[in-house]
């Protein structure tokens, strides 16, 4: 099937070439990091994890979120999602690979990475995080590839795959829970030391992940004949709204616990992030931007009239993605390290080089998504499933195009 990735329009090749250039540039910076060390980052003694690890955290959510399409299909027999499942799985593959790459670029001695495998340390959550990520990558590769090959051959999905699919659904929850455990349970990091951190991670993943997937699918629709079934989109947007509401509710719980209890440790990080402390207000605009974007996107998404408007929807989803990224990608990490163990503030900001290396990882992810989605949409086209009709419907919709045309 891979050969399908090789045949494409000039625009497809142009895009791939662009990604390769970005990867090349980022790789050059990464090699520089390998040569001179991580001093090229904005990290410091007090803020020892930064942009790389926050991207890992965010992307694990993207990997886990595919389950929001897979689960209704397999647990509730929701047929409308049938042609979306493969994209969720392929997205998860790209996300897992990006996560692992972000770990790889973040360690000071990448040549020793195997030590994690050679000296397995069950008491370290990092060990478990690597394990569950590898496992999830494997499961999605297996399921995605098998299903797509069978589809193409007009064959039924094999029965032996079922257990793997069910395992992968539960596994998806585990990858994000374990990533939350990476933070949760460290004494002295009050912003992370909260029992609902894993729940917050899942809630935020289940809104931001499907939102990213939907946007990528919308782009896919532009360049291919693929068309998402309308009902599948509607369901997914509803899931996104619920998850975002839960996400914001959980944040409110954190605020309540911190400020009603009046415990200094619990309040300090939140005060630093949202109001500034010791004259350090560098995070304040970002955190308020998060709150504002979150509110606006919910206002746009909750009324059915607006969320079903395909012009508004992408903007609302983009706002949601930025909002959750500011909260979980940026604020969570920096708020955990600041105030530092001495009660003082060490600001952190990623350097240009750090961003270049991150761009490289994202470009690799985009390349994987492009190639896998190209293969999947080609196969769907061949099978004439979920194809665009002239009126904007999908062949999966029960929509009579001719009638609508007559009306117009």
């Amino acid at each position: 099937m891979l050969e399908r990735a090789l045949k494409g329009s000039p625009r497809y090749y142009g895009w791939i070439a662009f990604l390769l250039v970005v990867i090349g540039l980022g790789a050059a910076v990464w090699i520089n990091q390998l040569m001179v060390g991580m001093k090229i980052t904005g990290l410091s003694r007090d803020v020892s994890w930064g942009f790389y690890i926050s991207q890992l955290t965010y992307l694990v959510g993207l990997a886990a979120s595919g389950v929001m399409i897979v689960l209704p299909h397999y647990f509730h027999n929701y047929e409308k999602n049938k042609n979306m499942v493969i994209f969720g799985e392929f997205m998860a593959i790209a996300a897992c690979v990006m996560c692992m790459l972000f770990v790889a670029v973040d360690v000071g001695q990448p040549s020793r990475m195997l030590n994690v495998v050679l000296h397995p340390t069950p008491n370290s959550i990092l060990f478990w995080d690597m394990t569950v990520l590898c496992g999830y990558l494997f499961l999605n590769l297996l399921i995605g590839w098998t299903c797509l090959s069978r589809d193409r051959a007009h064959m039924k999905h094999p029965g032996w795959l079922k257990p793997f699919i069910y395992i992968s659904i539960i596994w998806a929850f585990s990858i994000h829970t374990v990533t939350a455990f990476l933070y949760q349970g460290l004494p002295g990091r009050h912003y992370w030391l909260t029992a609902i951190l894993a729940a917050r991670f899942l809630a935020s993943a289940f809104c931001s992940g499907p939102a990213i997937l939907l946007l990528v699918m919308k782009a896919t629709e532009k360049f291919t004949n693929f068309q998402m079934p309308k009902d599948a989109v509607k369901t997914l947007v509803k899931i996104i709204i619920y998850a975002m509401c839960v996400n914001m509710f959980f944040l409110a719980l954190e605020f309540f616990t911190a400020f009603y209890s009046n415990m200094p440790g619990h309040m300090h990080s939140i005060v630093y992030l949202f109001a500034g402390e010791h004259g350090h207000t560098e995070m304040v605009p970002f955190m308020w931007a998060f709150l504002i974007l979150a509110t606006v996107c919910l206002i746009l998404l909750i009324p059915p009239r607006w969320r079903e408007n395909q012009k508004i929807l992408p903007w609302a989803l983009a706002m949601l993605i930025v909002a959750t990224w500011l909260d979980k990608g940026l604020g969570l990490l920096i708020g955990g390290f600041n105030p530092n163990p001495f009660g003082t503030i060490t600001p952190y900001w990623p350097t240009g080089k750090e961003l270049m290396v991150s761009m490289m990882v994202y470009a690799i992810g985009a390349l994987i998504v492009t190639v896998l989605f190209k293969i999947a949409t080609d196969v769907k086209e061949e099978l004439n499933e979920a194809q665009a009709l002239p009126c904007g419907c999908s062949t999966d919709d029960e929509c009579d195009c001719t009638a609508e045309k007559a009306e117009a």
Binding site: S44, Q109, R112, F127, L186, G188, P264, P341
Partner: protein, 256 residues
């Protein structure tokens, strides 16, 4: 042919191992190590340190201690917040942020406090390390294997005391190569480091360098021995430890 060679290798290996182990087996810890343990080495069930902040509390007081520690351990002097430090000083509110009150005695507030790794009894840095590069020795010292460390910096996130430093760049660039201590290794970039309670000095029967340089203001000894000097001062004087609520049971005590 193959068989012969294998047998030869086996016999040769056995012989070599035998030679290495046999005469020293009784001395070496565990009986397998070919390394000879210094018979003068200092032993304890649980090493601990008590710093008398009434006796030693200004930056001038601490300068020689810090210098002693950093020079014998080849700790680089890097400007900025990507620095490396094993022992340093801080004011009261940074050393004990949870035990602050607005009407604290001025003399206590104005003192400087020496901060170093606490060699915790329940060290979170050991709990989180994915490679066992950080480990706790039976004598309570939390030690590090720089060759094992992958530089993930999880231990830095885990330590509630900010006791660890990472080599963001090449540390040797910031060392006076003429004045290196050849008896202690320098580090490479990309690994974490911290105070090691001077294990290398204890192994030859010496006290930690900062203790030696403190003119008796820092007491070092076995916490599990009721007659040790450490236990004696802990009995007689009021002491506090950093961040007791973190539950890590630090081994560094401060007389206030």
């Amino acid at each position: 042919m193959k068989n012969n060679r294998r047998t030869f290798i086996k016999i040769a290996g056995l012989a070599a191992a035998g030679l290495a182990v046999a005469p020293k087996a009784t001395l070496a810890s565990g009986g397998h190590s070919p390394v000879k343990v210094n018979k003068d080495s200092a032993h304890a069930k649980r090493w601990a340190m008590v710093i008398d902040t009434t006796k030693i509390n200004t930056d001038e007081d601490f300068a020689p201690l810090i210098k002693a520690c950093h020079s014998i351990h080849n700790v680089p002097d890097i400007p900025g917040n990507q620095n490396v430090k094993w022992i340093w000083t801080a004011p009261y509110e940074q050393a004990f942020p949870e035990q602050l009150n607005p009407h604290l005695d001025d003399t206590v507030k104005e003192r400087r406090y020496a901060l170093l790794c606490n060699h915790c009894d329940e060290p979170p840095c050991v709990r989180v390390c994915p490679t066992k590069a950080t480990f706790k020795r039976p004598d309570g010292i939390v030690a590090m294997d720089y060759h094992r460390c992958i530089g993930c910096r999880y231990c830095m996130a885990g330590c509630p005391y900010g006791s660890r430093s990472f080599n963001w760049g090449e540390p040797r660039e910031h060392l006076d190569l003429e004045a290196l201590n050849p008896e202690f290794p320098t580090r490479m970039r990309g690994v974490v480091e911290k105070c090691n309670f001077c294990v290398e000095r204890l192994a030859v029967g010496k006290m930690p360098a900062c203790v030696d340089a403190s003119n008796g203001a820092i007491v070092f000894g076995d916490l599990n021995d009721p007659d040790s000097s450490v236990r004696q001062v802990l009995r007689e004087r009021f002491t506090i430890r950093r961040k007791p609520t973190a539950g890590t049971e630090p081994s560094v005590y401060y007389i206030i």
